[in-house]
Amino acid sequence: MAEVNTGGGGGGKHQKKGRKSSGTPRVDMTPMVDLAFLLLTFFVLTSQLNKPKASELIVPKPLEKNDTNTTKIPDELAVTILLDGNKGKKIYYYEGKLPTESGKILDITMDPKKGLRRYILERNRKVIAAMNDLRNQFQAGKIDSLAYDTLPRTKKYKNQDDAPFFIVKWGGDATYGDVIDVIDELKIGDVSRYALTKISQPEYEVLSVRTGIKYKDMLPPGTNQ
């Protein structure tokens, strides 16, 4: 298998010693092909093509007891999203303070055209308009990447005074995927003002009226009663 055939003709073995072959020597490439495909198979099987990416999550520091420097969110800017395990692919949300009657808790789907994304798009319209403008400027080369990185966090863009504030609350049945999906929707909608906390009991009570799930079975551990 591995012999080198010199001289083109089939008689390499019977060639007389010392006689120079005419023409280019022919090399049997088959073992090389074997080797190449072996390596190819190895790399295809061991490698991962889509590299995992990293998204950043910044959680707020717990408040000190005597900390007075807290920002209160005006009711009209607050939107609370309640996650309870995505039963029926629906998530629930309410605006402002927790309403006493369950009717004010609305449900919404994760559908990219009609659901949460569209709601955020409408609520956050001013920020998105400013951010689209910024993106266009960046693509046209009017601002550098450093400005493109730092500007969104300023008052003119994502931190506008009247930008909505989203509070994502998770219940005992919520999965990691549910939470990340919602956070991702917020990121798509250019929302930077959001927080992630445990659901509270009053919210669960109202939610259970809406969903028919007994809240006691679903309370996450360590919920404030």
Binding site: S47, Y176, V179
Partner: protein
């Protein structure tokens, strides 16, 4: 009719283009792909629009669908010293050979007591242990028994010491990343986040898959 001559020897093919092609593909895969690191559990991460690369020098906490916690820290030197600290704290003896072996391992999800057997075990033994384990113990009632707490603490402490002692390497500060499955219960992840909060880790990474960003499509 004249007889058709059948050539006696097998026809020879010119393999050169095939070799060219094969090596081209080999080169492509070598250059584009990163090695898949062996992991004790398969985790199906959620997708996100964030396109940042996974940072170098990380401490990785993996949480699978059952809520079991696995721990990994990249730097072998730090791994080894962290294990030595853990061995002292939980009074488990490790041989020099085990320490060396451990420093070259990947993610693990067993308690310190089970670790010697896990390190000595071959691939199939480890597989059995990975399937049976409950993950790195987290004790919410008794903080002193929570092994995850001390793994995170020791990992950070020794990583800091290592980069201080080797300024020439110019290591980036240790990043902490969470890799969890789509279907993991969020309350299990919250146990880990609670631990982060107690150790004043407020800024960390979540490992995700890439998903197309609708905003960028629009502006193009």
């Amino acid at each position: 009719m004249p007889k058709i001559k059948v050539p006696r020897s097998s026809p020879s093919l010119d393999m050169t283009p095939m070799v060219d092609l094969a090596f081209l593909l080999v080169t492509f895969f070598m250059l584009t792909a990163t090695m898949r690191t062996p992991e004790p559990v398969t985790v199906d991460t959620p997708s996100s629009i964030d396109a940042k690369e996974v940072p170098k020098n990380t401490m990785l906490i993996t949480i699978d669908t059952l809520g079991r916690v696995f721990y990994n820290i990249e730097n072998p030197t730090v791994r080894r010293i962290a294990l030595e600290n853990m061995a002292k704290r939980f009074e488990v003896k490790f041989t020099e050979e085990q320490l060396v072996k451990f420093s070259n391992m990947q993610s693990f999800g067993v308690s310190v007591k089970e670790l010697p057997a896990y390190i000595d075990g071959d691939a199939s033994k480890r597989k059995v242990m990975d399937a049976a384990t409950k993950g790195i113990p987290i004790d919410t009632a008794d903080q002193d028994k929570s092994e995850l707490r001390f793994w995170i603490y020791n990992g950070r402490l020794e990583a800091k010491r290592f980069s201080d002692e080797n300024p020439k390497l110019q290591l980036k500060p240790l990043r902490i990343a969470i890799k969890a499955d789509n279907k993991s219960a969020y309350k299990k992840i919250d146990f880990v986040l609670d631990e982060f909060k107690r150790q004043e880790i407020f800024n960390f990474n979540l490992i995700t898959n890439l998903e197309a960003n609708p905003n960028e499509k629009k502006s193009k």
